[in-house]
């Protein structure tokens, strides 16, 4: 059996921006008609979330699935379904030719990528555009500009968005690092350009340590990543991860829907998010919101997007990156604003105007999301398996987004998110009390979950006081 799929893939892998990338203005043309059929290039709870939005809008849905997901709820609930490959993501949910073919054979007029998988793949968006299938998300150009760290930094600096002071790329030697450090002030952090996971990373507090730390970082980076390139950045000892939710239509209307506080993370994996942030007041919200809008406008952003900032103890904030998709934690924003981000995302993708302005956005009460992952709550090792018992809590101010159920299998192939437990309270204290009782009234048997860890976080006095930063979880014994 022989196929020409390999050559197709090769064609698709070639980044033929010249051919398919639309001009930034193309998307702001006349309003398109509402989609008839949307293919959901994802699985799990976000696939159900998108099916829900489509059903409420009267749009037919196409589920795609790997062989491992044959019995998944997103397959059951969609109007049509196409098996796109074996369990392995690379051969199914990440396999662009299979997804494009699935859209073609079902006649879908748009694709919603969800989060993860191909959601921030500019090439996928381009190929869809070329096939006259609408990618529900921003333009390939915006994805590309925001997806490249150095490019994004330059673009943001030009747009007047504050970025963390540091070298614009790799630094050749310790002397050059010294020059930069003198300009931005101590402490600084040296990072491997190719790096991640703490390797080739050094925090430097004093000028005397800079040269030796630089060499040590270089050596470590070379050993770990085969590249000794090092860059220098201002080091924030107690940063908070604050992100601004944006929604933009094709006509240039861009509004911010408040912030989310996402500082509770482990190895850059968010675990618990809340809105509003206990540390952001109205004035700071407005300031960050307006900067986020400026960032989005700099790339002619369209659809739902998030600008992530680091906020220091003095209320100064710095652009980290922009996520050009719907995010896992979008429900906390929906809870406090009453908006439906996925429906709006689909609506603006047709070219329809936003329909609301900045002054229409009101933040009410407080919301918290806990990510219930199939993980050992201590070691964080994944805990795939079959869920034996499953019960999720109800009552006022509770929302649970999940594709799990009793007797469903949590596969080792995909991410370990089982359920998003989201609460809303009239204030933060009520939200915390509500989340505690929801975690206690949740039954998930058969796999280990992060529930015990969430209970510990919620009981922590510093968390309850709203005094925490991205290193909170390291300190929580």
């Amino acid at each position: 059996m022989v196929s020409r799929l390999d050559s197709v893939s090769a064609f698709l892998r070639s980044e033929r921006v010249d051919v398919v990338s639309p001009a930034p203005t193309e998307s702001s043309g006349r309003p398109r008609e509402m989609f008839q059929k949307v293919l959901i290039a994802n699985r799990g709870e976000i696939a159900l979330r998108i099916i829900s939005a489509c059903q409420e809008m009267g749009i037919r849905t196409v589920a795609v699935y790997s062989e491992a997901d044959r019995d998944s709820l997103h397959v059951r609930f969609a109007d049509e379904e196409v098996c796109i490959g074996p369990a392995k993501s690379a051969e199914s949910y990440l396999h662009i030719p299979a997804l494009i073919s699935a859209a073609e054979i079902t006649g879908a007029d748009a694709v919603h990528p969800g989060y993860g998988f191909l959601a921030e793949n500019a090439h996928f968006a381009e190929v869809l555009n070329a096939c006259k299938v609408r990618f529900i998300g921003p333009s390939p150009r915006a994805i590309r500009l925001m997806g490249d760290k150095a490019l994004a930094r330059t673009t943001m600096t030009e747009a007047g968005v504050p970025v963390l002071p540091g070298s614009d790329g790799a630094v050749e030697d310790a002397e050059r690092a010294e020059d930069i450090t003198k300009a931005i002030g101590f402490p600084v952090i040296l990072k491997a350009a190719a790096g991640g996971g703490g390797k080739g990373m050094r925090v430097v507090d004093r000028i005397e340590d800079l040269a030796s730390s630089f060499v040590a970082a270089q050596t470590e980076a070379e050993a770990a990543f085969g590249s000794s390139e090092i860059y220098v950045e201002k080091y924030l000892p107690k940063p908070r991860h604050i992100e601004i939710q944006l929604m933009a239509d094709a006509l240039g209307n861009t509004v911010y829907l408040g912030e989310r506080e996402c500082s509770i993370q482990r190895r850059h994996q968010k675990l618990l998010e809340e809105a509003p942030s206990p540390t952001v007041d109205d004035a700071l919200r407005k300031k960050m919101g307006e900067v986020a809008v400026k960032a989005a406008r700099a790339v002619d952003y369209e659809g739902a997007g998030t600008v992530e900032f680091l906020l220091d103890e003095n209320g100064k904030f710095y652009f980290m990156e922009m996520n050009t998709r719907i995010q896992v934690e979008h429900p906390v924003t929906e809870m406090v604003t009453g908006m439906d981000l996925v429906k709006d995302q689909i609506r603006v993708a047709t070219g329809e105007p936003l329909g609301y302005a900045q002054e229409d956005i009101v933040i009410r009460g407080a919301s918290i999301e806990c990510r219930i992952n199939a993980e050992d709550p201590v070691s964080f090792l994944p805990s795939p398996g079959t869920i034996r018992s499953f019960h999720i809590p109800g009552g006022p101010g509770v929302r649970v987004d999940t594709a799990a159920h009793a007797e469903c299998v949590v596969h080792p192939y995909y991410d370990s998110l089982i359920a998003k437990l989201v609460v809303h309270g009239r204030d933060r204290a009520e939200a915390i009390a509500r989340m505690r009782r929801c975690l206690r009234l949740t039954v998930i048997e058969g796999v280990k979950t992060t529930i015990p860890l969430h209970l510990r976080i919620l009981d922590d006095p510093e968390f309850r006081a709203g005094r925490y930063d991205t290193r909170f979880l390291e300190r929580l014994d």
């Binding site: 059996m1 022989v2 196929s3 020409r4 799929l5 050559s7 197709v8 698709l12 062989e67 491992a68 044959r70 019995d71 379904e81 196409v82 098996c83 796109i84 490959g85 074996p86 199914s92 030719p97 299979a98 494009i100 073919s101 699935a102 073609e104 054979i105 079902t106 096939c131 079959t386 034996r388 018992s389 007797e407 299998v409 048997e445 058969g446």
Partner: protein, 161 residues
């Protein structure tokens, strides 16, 4: 214990909905288990074992489902003695001939050689010829011409020879 005794035993087991039964004559060991028997998705509710109970059960046992059946390899799988199913290696549109009006690449009853083109699957505007990996007789075509096919969908059955 002879065969007719065994038959009687099996009848008894079936009638009583017993799912596990152990017997050791010397040493007097008896073990009876009953539960929910799931066969082909239909379940039979079974009463509890006839063991006298001193107190109410604190909680019912929670049954699980078996893991999904191991999925057949996408390329081919045995259907019957000697029958092999050819499955679609990709998502696309299935064509039985090279062009509208042309003869099909293979008809039912045809002798198939290794490497012979069986059909075309169009994916992303490209025509992908699907060749046979084995030789034998084409027994069945599962998909109609021009129909969309998903990954792993059955296309043909071939009796290998």
């Amino acid at each position: 214990m002879n065969l007719s005794e065994l038959k009687e035993l099996f009848d008894l087991i079936t009638e009583r909905n017993i799912t596990e039964f152990e017997l050791e004559r010397d040493g007097v060991k008896v073990k009876v288990k009953k539960g929910v028997v799931t066969v082909n998705g239909a379940e039979t509710l079974v009463e509890n074992a006839p063991v006298a109970r001193a107190e109410p059960e604190a909680s019912a046992a929670v049954a699980g489902v078996p893991e999904p059946a191991p999925l057949a390899a996408p390329a081919s799988a045995t259907l019957d003695e000697g029958l092999t199913v050819v499955k679609s290696p990709m998502v696309g549109t299935f064509y039985r001939q090279s062009a509208p009006g042309a003869e099909p690449f293979a008809a039912i009853g045809d002798r198939i050689k290794k490497g012979q083109v069986l059909c075309i699957i169009e994916a992303m505007k490209l025509m992908n010829e699907i060749e046979s990996e084995l030789q034998g007789e084409l027994v069945e075509v599962f998909v109609e011409d021009g129909q969309p096919v998903g990954f792993g969908e059955r296309l043909f059955a071939i009796r290998e020879s």
